[in-house]
Symmetry: C2
Subunit: 333 residues, 2 copies
Amino acid sequence: MATIHDVARHAGVSAATVSRVLNGRETVDPALAVRVQSAVSALGYRRNSVARNLRRRQTTLWAVLISDIENPFFTSLVRGVEDVGRSEGYSVVLCNTDEDTTKESEYIAACLADKMAGVIISPTSDTSDVSPLVEAGTAVVAIDRELSQVTLDTVLVDNEGGAEQATRHLAERGYRRIACITGPRRTSTAIRRLRGYQRAIKATGLTADKSLIRHADFREAGGYAAMAALLDEDVRPDAVFAANNLMTVGALECLVDRGLTVPDDVGVVGFDDIPWARLARPSLTTVGQPTYEMGKSAAQLLSGRIATPGRPATRVTLQTELHIRESTNRPPA
Amino acid sequence: MATIHDVARHAGVSAATVSRVLNGRETVDPALAVRVQSAVSALGYRRNSVARNLRRRQTTLWAVLISDIENPFFTSLVRGVEDVGRSEGYSVVLCNTDEDTTKESEYIAACLADKMAGVIISPTSDTSDVSPLVEAGTAVVAIDRELSQVTLDTVLVDNEGGAEQATRHLAERGYRRIACITGPRRTSTAIRRLRGYQRAIKATGLTADKSLIRHADFREAGGYAAMAALLDEDVRPDAVFAANNLMTVGALECLVDRGLTVPDDVGVVGFDDIPWARLARPSLTTVGQPTYEMGKSAAQLLSGRIATPGRPATRVTLQTELHIRESTNRPPA
DNA sequence: ATGAAAGCGCTAACAA
DNA sequence: TTGTTAGCGCTTTCAT
């Protein structure tokens, strides 16, 4: 591998000049610049970013820590981050924490060791410890879920509002025994979506029944199991609000397996859109989130924080949108 | 940030000793090791990987270059890579080329600059140029698609066989005018899957008609447009084989929009499974691929090549599996 | 078993 | 504008 010194020798200039040409900051005599360029291509020189990063004491890398790479919600969000990041000269690296606190802290340590310029994290838990990053002065933005210990730039949707709207919609369609399958207690989204559900139950005058509420793991199997448990109760629910996309799918599969019809026997609303929702039968009523925009906002916050480390933390809250489809299509009471 | 020298000073030993303790290779006096460890935690020392990688002239990073991060086929494959990589001490970094040759070559350059220990690539084209990596001695493995210019370790499925089986299945179910929506000509998978389709058409004695073959872009919109074009022909097909998951979805949506019934009016088989296939109505007959295994195999090949750079290139071909569901469910002729 | 010293390839001060 | 020099933080000879 050719180094800058090889290029310098070949072009008959100093290493500093080669560096100047390559980085295009300072002005260099055009004739020299040309000689450097041709030496670069003659030798097939390629910059060693590792050395560069060490010397500059910074990288142009962003890490995105998400909890499930197979969940379309996260991949779409990553696209938003990527587009902004690339346009500002950053490379975006994906890390899959798998809802696993251990993996998460390993990745946080790695981000530190690798001197990431910025980190966007969807924490596995409200109490995830990002303090090593914060203390080291790394720019951090939380997305989708909040962190309780520290005040960070954060991008969220109106989880309570979205959940309330979804639940109200079920009530308006005449469903009376509405269940809620929410996520793990350790995540802010699960808590807030449950709260929105509860608010709607109260507002519509339906009886709140604790046995209608289940906490699952935001995964398909968890949604399936929670639905099964709800159906095994003495009085089964006639509708269910599921707090994320995968659990909705699980719940639906359970209903199919039990021979129950949606929306006639049971109405279903999910949080998060599902790709190819048009193909599912019945098509699914969902609380849609602006995933791409969320990623984009987070990236913009990160970029801003890198530029101005001391600025106060911002919280961006985006709106959800209820997409009414067939799974709640029962005539109003 | 504390450095190794700070730790050394604090523990009253040399930097070399700290390094030895931290890397656990050579033997160090247990008493010293303890002093080093406590100095490490006292100072909150964290390794600087950038410096380490520069000095060691190698990293423990793998890059995976995939063409669509939102395609579940690729994300599932990445899981396989990740699991093997992590178990061997590598961090896996994802790069999204977006079927864009420019992005792809930028990422290849970045892999080189960042001194990646290995690269797993699903090339955007048969003629994608990975030679910079190969020449620099970086371990490279191709996955899902072949490269024509160079001989690399490669993980594929039996694309021709899978496509032939799918097409034969349609013929056996009594479909007579079977169309094929395949991918871009520049990708080996598109070519091979088309070839398998053609082989089956010939073998079953159906008439081969060029107007039944369409090349699209492996995306949903492309599949939709190709299906629309097929339906606009004078004689419309009574079945379609689509060469990947997203195009299958597009084709199906087109059929729905045109008011055609699957499988009665048109039979459909897709290549690649589709998540939540059970929810789609009709459920989809697909050529399933062992995605996780593919990722795992690629990772094992990569690991082997890093260990033994000179060894001859291996090609792993995994089998596909036809999953017969409702979308081809027409009684045999 | 331990320490001293060199240097990975680059960029940023500083001098000229 | 250009060149000289030092050093980012680490690992690895080589001596001891």
